[in-house]
Structure formats: C-alpha cells, structure tokens
C-alpha cells in the first residue's frame, strides 16, 4: 500500500502538500476549498494583533519564472479572523495559524487565540522580508527567536512551527535558536526588488519585496539541507515547488512535508491534487511504500 501519509511537526497529514502562508488563505471559504480540492493542510495568512490594510498596489511584480511581492502583511487582526477559521475548519483537515508580531508577548497572545479558534498548529512568521519591525527583523535575532519559541512551547498545547528567512548570514544559527520548535518551515521569500525602466521607479509601492517561485528553489533546498545537517528536527520545505520532482528534491534534502505558494500562479488550486497524484505514481514505480523513506536520502 503506497502512502503519502506523513507525521510531521506534531501533525498527521494525509498528504505532505500544504498551502503556504499568504497565498489564498485570507478568506475562510478559499481555505476550505483548497483543502477540499486536495491540500494536506493550509497555513493561514499571517495574522497580527491589529487590522492592517497592507501596502498600496502594485503589491506584486510577476515574471516568467518568479514573483516579487510586497503585500505588507494585510490582515483583519486576530479577533476578526476567528470567523474565517471557523469556515475553514468545516473541511475537517488541519489548519495551521500563521502569526506575526514584534515581541514574545504578542506572539503568545496571538498563538493562544489561534489555539482557541481550533487550529492544529501555529506557524511563527519570523521571516517576512519587507515589513519594518516584523518578520525577518525579528527572525534574524537568535536570542529573540529562542525566547519566543521557548515561551510558546511552554504555554501552548498545540505544536509550534517556526518559519525562517533565507536572508541571514547563517541559517544554521537561526535553526539552532529555534530548534525547540516542532518543525522548521524553510524558506520565506528572498528580499528583492524590481525597477520599471520606462517610468524609472521601483515597481512595488513598498520598493522592497520578497522573491518567490522557481527562482528560489535552489536557495530553499540549500537552507533545508543546511538545517537538516544542523539539527534533528522536522522540516517543512517551501520555495519554488511546482511539481512532484521539485517536491522530491526537498524531501530528499530532508523535508518531511512541503508547502506551495507561487506555483498557483501557473497551475491554480489543482496543483495540490496533481502533485499528490504524481508522487503516488512515483512511489509505485519506484517501489517505495511510504514517502517517509525518502526523507533526507540525499544528505551526505
């Protein structure tokens, strides 16, 4: 019996293909649909303590093989997000609540509310590269990261995932700092920008944004591989996964599940079902009983 079932980061997933935070996960109905259509779990949009509109458009700069975005962490604030989670929960599959804050107290407050709303785990956004005071500004400070993870782990009943940034001198150092988490999620976007030559100005209203899609797969793989060698902890791979071979690269580098974001720009919501199907065929063809057997096999 071929199986894609995975236990990772304290959760049991029917499929290792998870929707990444920030893509089609603001509206409860959308999350529910994506789960119904084949994702193993969804991570919500990153939610903070207060309502934020995000940046003025343009907030995305799409290119052939990549995307740069600076949404600016739009979110209704944690209190208004309960209803969306309620809608999404009707799918019966795991919802992972992504949260962002600039200090331990706020992270704790947000995480407790998420737990209260019924999510299966929280994912700490320690890595958004384009909002001052949040994300990677927090996530590049190992002392602060350690403190946040420690406090949350000490208080929450549900698993804690830490989503890290590739925009650091040493991913190993930050991986170590967050090694009390139930899983590392690698990677968030790479800090980047684009200029419009015609109008002679940056394309994104915020100037700086995050690079995602095909272009960052080699960077994401490297971070997963480095973290795998650094600490013995579950890893969720993310960055430029478009098909089952990309997913297998991440799995062989040490990830036990993976998230998909930008590929939706090319393949739409069906990408989750398609990849799961292709992975199953691959396992069958190669006589592998469970996808778990492939985790980390390329690590030397």
């Amino acid at each position: 019996m071929i199986s894609l079932t995975t236990n990772t980061g304290g959760l049991k997933l029917e499929s290792p293909a998870i929707l990444a935070s920030g893509i089609l996960d603001e509206n409860g109905y959308t999350m529910k649909r994506i789960l119904d259509e084949g994702a193993g779990a969804v991570v919500t949009k990153s939610i903070g303590t207060e309502e934020r509109n995000g940046y003025f458009s343009p907030v995305v700069a799409p290119e052939g093989s990549y995307l740069i975005n600076a949404m600016g962490l739009p979110n209704p604030g944690i209190d208004f997000f309960r209803d969306e989670i309620n809608i999404a929960l009707k799918s019966g599959k795991p919802i992972i609540g992504s949260i962002f804050a600039s200090n331990t107290d706020d992270f704790l407050k947000l995480a407790l509310k998420m737990q209260d709303y019924g999510v299966s785990a929280v994912e700490l956004n320690l890595s958004c590269p384009h909002v001052q005071g949040f994300g990677s500004e927090v996530g590049s400070d190992p002392v602060l990261v350690k403190d946040i993870v420690k406090n949350l782990k000490g208080t929450l009943k549900i698993p804690v995932w830490s989503k890290l940034s590739p925009n650091v001198t040493s991913i190993s150092e930050i991986a170590r700092a967050s090694s009390e988490s139930d899983a590392l999620v690698l990677i968030n976007t790479v800090r980047a920008m684009a200029i419009d030559v015609e109008s002679k100005r940056p394309v994104l209203t915020n100037v700086y944004g995050g690079l995602s899609g095909k272009a960052i797969k080699p960077v994401g793989l490297r971070c997963v591989y480095e973290a795998r060698k650094e600490c013995d902890i579950d890893i969720i791979g993310v960055g430029g996964i478009y098909n089952y071979r990309d997913a297998l690269e991440y799995i062989m580098a040490g990830a036990s599940a993976f998230q998909i974001g930008t590929a939706l720009m090319e393949y739409g919501r069906k990408v989750f079902g398609d990849i799961a199907m292709d992975l199953e065929s691959y396992l069958k063809k190669n006589n592998v009983a469970n996808i778990k057997e492939l985790v980390g096999v390329a690590v030397q």
Binding site: K45, S57, V60, P76, R201
Partner: protein
Amino acid sequence: MEHIEVKRKKVDTPTVASLYFEWDARVLPGQFIMVWVPGLGEVPMSLSKTGKEKCITVKAYGESTGKLAKTEVGELITLRGPYGKPFKKSGGDILLIGGGSGMASLRPLINRRSTGIIASRTPEELLFSEEFNADKRIEVTEDGRKGIKGIVLDGMDMVNPEDFSMIYVCGPERMLKAVYDKIKDKNVNAQFSLERSMKCGIGLCDSCSVNGYQVCVDGPVFDMNQLRDMTEFGTSKLLASGKRVKI
C-alpha cells in the same frame, strides 16, 4: 509589464473616458488587464474593445482611475495581462445588461442581434447606448431624465428574458445579485461578470475570492450554475485588510 501608447481618446461621459491603443495580445470579451498608474496604484480594467485595436473605458472613481482617465494621446499606459476567463459566445438574440462602467466589458459583445439595458444615475452617464440599434436600446436613468426612470430591474420589465439565447450582465455586485434573483428561476442562460477588488490579478492574494473561487482567474465571468452555490455572492466580501463586511 508592457508600456503601450494611447493612440486615440474619447470622453464618453462627464466621468468616463475611453483610451484606444494597439496591443498585439490576444484578448477575448470579458477579460481584463491590470493597469498601473505609477505613484497611485494598480487597477483592474476590462477591455472594451478586443480586436486589433484595444480599448479601456475608465470611470474616474478614485485617485488611480482619476489619473488614468486623464491620460492623453501619445502618453503610455503600463499594464499586465490579459487575465481572466472570457464570456462564452452565444448565437441568436442576446441581452446585455450593464450598470455604470459595467457596460465597458459588455461592449465587445454588442452586435446586430443584441438588446441592451443600459442603466445609470443620469442621462449623461449612459455608456455606449448609442452603439446598440435604436430599437434594441433600453435606457434607464435614476433621475428619469432619459428613458425609463428607475433601476436596471425596471428596464428588465420591458423584455421577456426567456426570449434571449443568452443574457450577459455586468455592474456593481448588488445589481448583479438583483438581476440574478430576478431570473434565477426562469428558463434562461446568463453570464455575470463580477467586479471584486483585486490586488494581484493572478490568483494568489485571495482579495477577490467568492466562496473559494478567484474572480481574477476563475472569473470574472460566472454562469448561473456557478453562482447558485456562492453564499458570498451579493452578501459579503473582504476589505483590503481581509476584514469581512456586508455588501
């Protein structure tokens, strides 16, 4: 992103201007583009002409569209796309129902056999009604200074929807919902073009979604069957922040 010169301009109504340009993309009626107004924002715009010559018809609504409508001949517009699924074609007699700038996306469907119900607040704002045959043109104004006094629904009473092989509807969502409710139990085929606020246009940001369908990639055109299960249609939407509000 592409930069394309405006070749021709026509002020259609006091608040609406059409910008004509040549662009070699293949576009079908119902599809839209994202137009960037540097310094102000990026806005979705339907193509109101989809042949060799393309056109966008802009209602000066807020800052971005206000500036865009002021674009002059010879200046460049910056755009990406085309995006979205087009209207499905239909032979025979068709009915086009447009409210406000909604007529823009319906315009490429106007032909000999199309009847139009064109609604606006004032006579000056009636858009593209002159492009319909005089005997297939039902104008509706709120102030009643031209055509029928009232709203779109009042215009619809002038025809039998079941006489048409297809009904195409575009306008504010509340209007769409009203039209939908009026015809949902009749024996008709209809397609509705939705306008939800859009940040990305490419199916990623979730700001345009209706019951899990992205208006920017699964729409903007939906048929009656698709709308039937959409509990969010005409009732609630998310603000820029993602906060849910009633429509």
